[in-house]
Symmetry: C2
Subunit: 336 residues, 2 copies
């Protein structure tokens, strides 16, 4: 996959310098520290994306690229947001921004943790893992689950929660390298399989049979989804959470096992975490308790890339699609 280059006529991204406005009442001037890199951003910029079919307004040519971030408050005219505080905001790919104070979210206090965990295990990916397991997979104690993209931002939290919090009897994790698989076994996977191995399909079937699995937490779509459809129990469930295998090549999703969905009465449920934001406190409670009890390790679950040239921000984001990173991929553009 080509890395986007700036300044070419077919570049996806362009660098712009703009003048920031003066702060009005109840506004903040923010300095971005960390960008969140999310596969979902690929959908937001899909060419000719139908706005009706997306859960946020799509990013159109000329728009600021949308992204979640952690920012330091440089100036504030709001009583509720203090200068120097670290806050969460959808500033997009920008170094500094002026926002209304009500558009930023203060971070909960979790001593001893890097604030970047609020983009990963205790942020969107952590919430996705928790609500995906609870509401979509409906995972119960003693059940068996397959997780793909297991070394990714959401996947590694799924593995840990499934094993240590939901108490699954078997967690089968799928990732793209032997090193990732080793790590996944350390954090809770009973079986970890490298999908690039020539024996992957046979190994996966052997791991899942003879009992088959109760659910599949799908972060990748494509051929792995197809393989898993044959390995889900009668009346089992699929949480359709991501399809990173298909975002850049939609012809990847050939489901020649589709008939399994019918014959085995499988339920496949698409899922976007924003539907559960109103229940964020419930998830943060479970996740932070799991961290304190040593059931959720956040230290190995993020890759922070320091980006000294702002032009490289898209290139770092693209690592999501080549499987280079482990856990949550965070771009840091300034010091804390």
């Amino acid at each position: 996959m080509p890395v986007p280059e700036l300044g070419r006529s077919d570049s996806t991204f362009e660098l712009k310098e703009i003048e920031l406005p003066e702060l009005k009442e109840d506004q903040v001037l923010l300095q971005t520290i960390f960008f969140s890199n999310d596969p979902a951003q690929r959908g937001w910029i899909q060419k000719d994306q139908d706005a009706d079919r997306l859960y946020i307004p799509p990013v159109r040519p000329g728009d600021l690229m949308l992204a979640g971030a952690l920012c330091k408050v440089l100036k504030s005219t709001s009583a509720s947001v203090k200068e120097g505080a670290l806050v969460q905001a959808y500033v997009g790919w920008t170094e500094q921004a002026v926002l209304d104070a009500k558009a930023v979210t203060s971070l909960p206090d979790l001593p001893g943790l890097s604030p970047s965990v609020f983009l990963g295990a205790l942020g969107g990916p952590g919430l996705t893992a928790f609500f995906g397991l609870k509401e979509i997979c409906k995972l119960e104690e003693g059940q068996e689950i397959i997780v793909s993209g297991a070394a990714g931002a959401t996947g590694n939290v799924v593995v840990q929660l499934a094993k240590h919090v939901f108490k699954a009897s078997k967690v089968i994790a799928i990732a793209g390298s032997d090193d990732k698989c080793e790590w996944l076994k350390k954090i809770g996977a009973d079986v970890a399989l490298n999908y690039k191995s020539p024996s992957f399909s046979a190994d996966l079937a052997q791991a899942a049979k003879p009992s088959y699995v109760d659910c599949y937490f799908d972060n990748v779509g494509g051929s792995i989804l197809n393989a898993c459809l044959s390995l889900i129990k009668k009346h089992g469930r699929v949480a359709a959470c991501g399809a990173i295998a298909a975002y850049n090549d939609r012809s990847q999703t050939v489901l020649d096992n589709w008939v399994e969905v019918i014959m085995n009465r499988i339920t496949v449920q698409g899922f976007v975490v924003i539907d559960y934001y109103s229940r964020r406190a419930e998830a943060i409670d479970v996740l932070s308790t799991a961290v304190k009890e040593g059931k959720l390790s956040v230290s190995g679950g993020e890759t922070i890339v320091r980006c000294t040239e702002f032009e490289k921000v898209p290139e770092v984001w693209m690592r999501l699609f080549s499987g280079q990173n482990t856990g949550k991929l965070v771009t840091q553009i300034a010091d804390l």
Copy 2:
């Protein structure tokens, strides 16, 4: 698609003559009158079918081909089954059979209707339509629905029930000929589209937009499933009931819109009617009331093929896969 020929080394079917046993206590000798032809039978004979993944024991080489049928009782040693009665039984493709009396089901009394309707609108296809709409689509008054395979045994009942019993505000029916579409409009479809038309995709999108539809009752899978995934409302539903487009060529199900399932939080639920047999009385009540009230027409909903040579039974069944018939395809091998 080649029609199966008997007597060749690669024939799917072989004709066998066997000696029937004498009747023991509580048994019946049956003469088959009507065979039910069902797309599901294709799955039951799939080569190397994994028995774990099928909801009935698969038919293996040498086994009697499984099929539902209506039969006349020629002899009975049971007090509960009278000679001369018409009963429903899974006799398989056979002219006569000896069964335990408890393996046959008496037919309810519905004066004025051909008994063959108990294989169609008031049999498995009717139950599939009713429970699919009620439990899988969860169709409510005023909602919009797309139905594929709409001129088939299940599809035509879906169209009629959706419009006249569940009171959908819009029923979009998909079938394979202009004649079928004309008929579907007569029995309740607001829009009927021929999927062989060059403008089909555009016509379908236009019919479904701008409101999109609440659910899709999928009898065909393949490219029509793919097209429909883009036309289902946020949080909408797909009843995965059949995949006749894919039974004989599994590479047909290329879902290049799979990302729509995620972004629009669509639920796809596989479905086999046998799970609802214990609630059969509820469905029969709704269906027979609909017949009496003129909301469900059964006369146009079946194609009966008289088969004087038993060798032609597989050939008639194969019509299911070439779209030749309208409504329930019934094979008659003897007079009533």
